[in-house]
Structures are given as C-alpha cells and as structure tokens.
Symmetry: C2
C-alpha cells in the first residue's frame, strides 16, 4: 500500500467557475478544528521537517503547486500537489517535508486539532525511534 | 454598527514565507464543519444571490480579490476582500453577492454546517419578508 493516501475531491463547478466543498466526516475523514494556509513561500525554501504524534491533516494546493514528501521511517515517497481537487491525507507517525513551492502556491491544510507544540516531533532521529517502535 | 464584520487574521509568516492559521472557536467564532473554495471564476460572473437562515460563515480571499456585498434588508454594504489576512464573518439573515472576481481569486469560505439546501433563501422578495420580520 502506498504511504501517500490521495483524496480526489469532487469538482462542483458549473458555467460560473469552479468550486470544491470539503465537509468534515464526509470528504475529510475527521472532525476539522483548524485550517491554515501557506503562501508567498520564498524561492528555494522547503518547509515541514517534522512529524506529529496524533494530528491528522488533509493538504491541498488550492492554487499553484508544491511537492509533498512523506516518510514513515522505512519508505520515503513524494507526490506533487498541483490540483485544487487532489488532496492527501496525512495520519500516523509520518515525517513530512514540502519542497518546490511555485510562486503562486497556496497550500491549504485542514487539521484535526488545534495547534499543540507538544504533538510535534521535530528531530529526525527521534522520529525514527518512534516510527520504528510502531 | 457596520453590517460588515471584518476579522483581521494574525499573520504567522517568517523568513520562509507567509502562513495564516484559523482555529475554530478561537479565530473563527463557531465550530467549523465545512470548508469550500471558489476559483477560476469566469470573467464578468457574479455569485451568491442568496441568504441563509442559520448558517455562519467566514470568507477570505486566500489569493486574488473579489467584492462582497452584504444586505440585511435595510442596508447594503460592499467590502473588497483582497488580503489573505482579512476575512469577514457572515451570520444572521443577510443577503450576499460576490462580484468582480480577479482572474487569480481563490475565495475560501469556512462554514458552521454541512451543505443544506433547506437553509437557503434564494428569492430576494422572500428574503426581504424574512429579514424585515426580525
């Protein structure tokens, strides 16, 4: 099974333009508590470089593109997020990195919990120890 | 009091780029159940033209811009949404219309309920009757 869980969102566009709607516990497989968006990322910058203990997230580039790398401690896989209708579900002990942001990229992330610094694993060696215990 | 309730979101950017995080019951004054985004709106198209009986929404242009008109049955006001850190809260019996979408506009809306057609008031005369009862 691929490490990367792709979610294909239903486009609800018509002759006016495009629309994508994401409902908690329907399109998003958890109750949403937080939405954040990353934008105007400087050229050459990568982001992420952490895992979470409990957080679940869905990530989608609502415009532009970036590469999303996921790593479960054994396997590393990368997907290019480049469509408003293609998201990924990130759950479990998974290291993530985001690379190659396009100038126009707006990366939106829907999260299952409020921000909690104690849920982060920011050291890769610690991540490997925790990931390989599971 | 203005009909338009502006929410100024805290920018959490640093030297990597920009980030805005919206937490339910903190930055967003309700529990979020749905997020939708409107994009690639055709030139000259306006959207909306309805009110809601119970739904609460926060709208923000995460990129680009559009004009948001709100009408409570007595007063009509318009605001240009043109910043990733400026949203509006829409609640109560308010008619809304969106105009002048820029080509690059991505309008994100966070909603307090799942989609429910029975919550819509799509006829302006009906809206006026309901609004003016309140």
């Amino acid at each position: 099974m691929s490490l990367i869980k792709v979610l294909n969102f239903k486009p609800l566009g018509d002759d006016r333009g495009d629309l994508v709607a994401l409902e908690e516990l329907v399109d998003i497989p958890f109750a949403m508590k937080r939405v954040y968006y990353v934008f105007r990322t400087e050229r050459g910058v990568s982001r992420g470089f952490h895992a979470h203990k409990n957080l679940k997230q869905v990530a989608v580039c609502v415009t532009g593109s970036c590469d999303f790398l996921l790593d479960d401690g054994t396997t590393r896989e990368t997907i290019t997020l480049d469509s408003s209708t293609k998201g990924i579900l990130i759950e479990g002990i998974v290291w993530r990195e985001m690379h190659n942001f396009s100038d126009d990229c707006v990366l939106m992330v829907i999260a299952s919990e409020h921000y909690d610094e104690s849920d982060y694993i920011r050291n890769y060696d610690n991540f490997l120890k925790i990931a390989n215990k599971n």
